[in-house]
Subunit: 720 residues, 2 copies
Amino acid sequence: MKRPSFFLFVLVSFCLLYDTLYGKDGYNLWLQYAKIESPELVDAYRKNTHKITLPQNSSTTNIIKNELTKAFKGMLLTSPEFSEKNIENHNLVIGTRDNFPWLIELVDKKQLDSLGQEGFIIKSTFFKDQPITVITGNSDLALLYGTFEFLKLIQTHKSISDLNITSIPKTKIRVLNHWDNLDRSVERGYAGSSIWNWHLLPDHIDQQYLDYARANASIGINGTVLTNVNANALVLTPSYLKKAAALAEVFRPYGIKVYLTARFSAPIEIGNLKTADPLDKNVQKWWKEKAEEIYSYIPNFGGFLVKADSEGQPGPHNYGRTQADGANLLAQALKPFGGIVMWRAFVYSEDTPDDRAKQAYNEFKPLDGKFDNNVLVQVKNGPIDFQPREPVHPLFGAMPQTPLMMEFQITQEYLGQGTHLVYLSKLYEEILSTDINAKGPGSTVAKIIDGSLENHPLSGMAGVSNIGTARNWTGNHFGQANWYAFGKLAWNPYEKSEKIAKDWIEMTFSSDPQFINTSLDIMMESHEAVVNYMTPLGLHHIMDWNHHYGPGPWVTDKHRDDWTSTYYHQAGADGIGFDRTSSGSNALSQYSSTIQNQFTNLKTCPEKYLLWFHHLPWSYQMQSGKTLWEELAFRYQKGVDQTTQALQQWSTLEGKIDDERYKHILSFLKIQEKEAKWWKNACLLYFQQFSKSPLPQGVDDPKKTLEDYKKYNPQFVPGI
Amino acid sequence: MKRPSFFLFVLVSFCLLYDTLYGKDGYNLWLQYAKIESPELVDAYRKNTHKITLPQNSSTTNIIKNELTKAFKGMLLTSPEFSEKNIENHNLVIGTRDNFPWLIELVDKKQLDSLGQEGFIIKSTFFKDQPITVITGNSDLALLYGTFEFLKLIQTHKSISDLNITSIPKTKIRVLNHWDNLDRSVERGYAGSSIWNWHLLPDHIDQQYLDYARANASIGINGTVLTNVNANALVLTPSYLKKAAALAEVFRPYGIKVYLTARFSAPIEIGNLKTADPLDKNVQKWWKEKAEEIYSYIPNFGGFLVKADSEGQPGPHNYGRTQADGANLLAQALKPFGGIVMWRAFVYSEDTPDDRAKQAYNEFKPLDGKFDNNVLVQVKNGPIDFQPREPVHPLFGAMPQTPLMMEFQITQEYLGQGTHLVYLSKLYEEILSTDINAKGPGSTVAKIIDGSLENHPLSGMAGVSNIGTARNWTGNHFGQANWYAFGKLAWNPYEKSEKIAKDWIEMTFSSDPQFINTSLDIMMESHEAVVNYMTPLGLHHIMDWNHHYGPGPWVTDKHRDDWTSTYYHQAGADGIGFDRTSSGSNALSQYSSTIQNQFTNLKTCPEKYLLWFHHLPWSYQMQSGKTLWEELAFRYQKGVDQTTQALQQWSTLEGKIDDERYKHILSFLKIQEKEAKWWKNACLLYFQQFSKSPLPQGVDDPKKTLEDYKKYNPQFVPGI
């Protein structure tokens, strides 16, 4: 036995040589399929995956075969033997009960029935006294999902010898929202241009489209909105529908439906109508015919996402109609074909002087029950706009008759944009696990999102994509974790961020325990860090004008108050914070009484939301015993210290992974530390004008003046 | 011996497995370093490269070491043994005579002296009776160039046992011109965005910058102009100079200098001066100080590239000064630091009604001898603007006292843009080998460009880059060949396109003879094909308005005649073509009398330039015996047929290379065939209005009408 193991050693060495010949640019995401080093593990995995039975009757099963081939080549250096039908002597069987009627004897029929079309079972069992692993479900797509889950177990070095996994997605619609324009610019995109090369579609199908679909399928995402919510009606014209259809055809075997954004004024712009009034017969006819036309190009078209009556977008308000009138117009057009409408609740008016945080609730709450049953109202996690931290949006729990879809932002518009390492799953989890007490304790946002609280058949979660043409897809390597975590939470909004992160690290980088633990620490701390160095204690919307890059607490006197920082922080000699209690905007009245009481009372209001709801004097005494000013200063300092620590921690990982990704991440962490200091210094110098107090000991003195920071005017900031 | 070879087989199989695990996206360009299959070759190469002596005293020698390591891992599956000094038993010695004084005994001293700082020698010789290969030169950069040449021999499976190569670059300045804007858009760029991430510079040094420098060094390119000739003065401000300096630092060990475009009005825009008059003392002072400032950031700064007085750019004309006044202003500022000015001859006026093809000559010829000695005048290959085919620019040969630099376009603004396979080396070669008879027969353009005709110490060649963020750098895989060929021709303007193509194919794709021959056929035919289906017989500038994508022979009535198609083709009932003889614009008078006579005489004027210089009736009889109309139609048809053939030829190569690149190229060839038909049909239908003759037999009937083609209005065309 000595010889083979020596040769195995040579073999492995050469393959590792080969591996390092080309740097790792991150393109392979969490599907690295890195070679497993432990011979015991490799042996165990090989034994259970050597002979695979897998029917080849669809593009999807073909994808499964390719994925297994690629995975086992990479991880185990083997090529499994496939058979379409033969079960004898095989150890991994992948199929539906239509493929293998005998499955019913091994897997509970009820359980199978409960899976729906997307759920799957992975089970270690016996066939004719031989141990086998079965991956089954009620569709080929379910088999694909099960396969990726099975491969994840191997990627994360888990035992696969005694499995009994049942996994059913808790939400129906799990979609990425691409804010991608037809000219390939990406609104709030920090990872290069749009990956949709509209110019070359439908003729050129880029490999990246397939890789995109594969990555999404691996985490259960089943839909993609190709275009920006600030929409261009051109995408609904035949030449663009052909292009979208080509993408839909690529995505179909991966279980991913294509959706488009519908510009509300499209009937005027591309339909030659004089109006887009939702109650106008010709407008209704136009949309019905348009829907029919779309389905002629894209038979499995998912439906529309709409941003209306907000930030310059046209909508039903232009005709004195309600958001429900607008949504139902499109819903009725799509209904015959099984399409849905995702109607965004992000509506706030240029003319309404009321607290922007209240407007969506005021607009939508009265419309509860008025939406057609193929409409979801898509609500951002908080009432302002994807801030580093926001309290939960008051609409959650306030519209029991309407399925509410969650809109999370994966792209980091307000959280460091292209470079900052922020593991957003912590933010998502904080919101999803919030108990809004809509139907007594335990009414978490997750239960609203998955439809279980009110028994809605429709449910969903949307993530505003952070994907672009960057070689690693997301610019920041850790941005991949946010895409991954979004998919996992859309499938199961109750899953824990820590578990998700751990799997992701191992699949993406390394199984080295020190690497995993250190990376995990950095990730788990990162959301609190960004809140600290940007907007601690409930501060919000104090970034720089327009591009939202860097601090801008001084932004004031713009044509809209609710686009300025001074409107939100209300800092003055008397203190700081936005009074949203009954003495102020009373936005708190929009929450359940439990939350209302908790947040109104200064003693019970969590300090993380303090200045979101309260305007307080600089001398206000915090739980720590410090004054508000001191606490604020310490929080900013802490945020900086957390980035410094992350940088130090990362530096200990040199040599644990490939140099290319190690260095890339290192330089981004350095930028993050630098920018954290910029945030801290600019904000503290600015607020100090009002607090008129010195920085407490332990808080580093800024090296520059407030004027220096105000003058700094970076050009050509990405993402606009 | 049986065992090892069996295990070698297993080894190789696994490594190949590994190789195919990840698709080839083309990022590695011509530096694929694919494993060599032939055991004999591998043996021979290993024997000669097993032990390498290479001093480690600079970043450049470190780069050489890494390159050899990577190359031999990839091609030979070996890790060579390196020593800094030990020569005993070593078989590859890389160093200067400073490193190894004994080199003088093996390599002729005179020969060494003649190499300059960039030339190199690769020689098979003996050291103490042991066979060795020596790579030497007078700088570490020369060693790097020699190393890449040596590796190329292995990549192309040549013998390395009896070498005696001396290679000295014939031009001094070999630069890419990036028409990249600070917002990362790329003017006439069809391969994604700019690879310069200005926003993250100087903090983040992307791996791609290193890979860019490496690729350029491998083909002898020694400079890069980072910014667009339509310039933004901001790049000359400190914050951007720091960014440019970071890139310069990355590029330095690869022998690549950074150049910037200087906006002529910068003294006003960023210097607060009231004028940019080149004769104004304050303006002169401002540029001198600016140069000093730039060199404080970038000690090896190369100099400026300037587009002045053209297409809206400011310039000396604004102050009634000459182009020489403008160029010398900057040249004097750069002179103390060794910098140069590349002053573009692409000047034509909005107000001058004269033939655009004549204006550069009229502007610059009288200034010959008036430029400072650190100025090069950068002249496009033809007098209009990078058309599929142009006669040589009349300035070549007309300014003997001025070093003229060649400006070729590598990006395919007028040659199919992102998708068409056009091997531009054939176009470059056609121009470089043109005998302009400036000093009697044999006065080729190459001799002007390399300075040999007039003994100019300065010389250079510029290529407008086709590089972007596309995963394969150039969008079109065959665009890489044009980048490669540009570098090779800049080094040696006498090299043959066919040889360059052959090397490139083998280094990039495969050593399979069928693959090489078929690809070579396609490449060598491709330039003639695009001329045929776009602008046969000397037609030019008949593409669509503004974005220049697709045919637009009908473009007319714009605010500038010389931006319309009708101005250039002059098609009417009486015939077609631009009369540039003495009966017309007399542009021919700008050429040497030999060329003048040849091109004026219809019997000797090459048909490829016929309609560039002559307006002829539709019934004019061509050499083929056909009428002009028939010949025109046949040429268009031939262009289409050539694309069809290329597509068919490529289809025979399936399985010969990785699937990813094979399919990518296949789909681009399909687009090319489709667009060739579009060109042929649109142009023939348009011209048929005037020829009033049927299409001759053998020319396919268009499926659409002229109105269909005129109405087609593609949106969001890339590259503007």
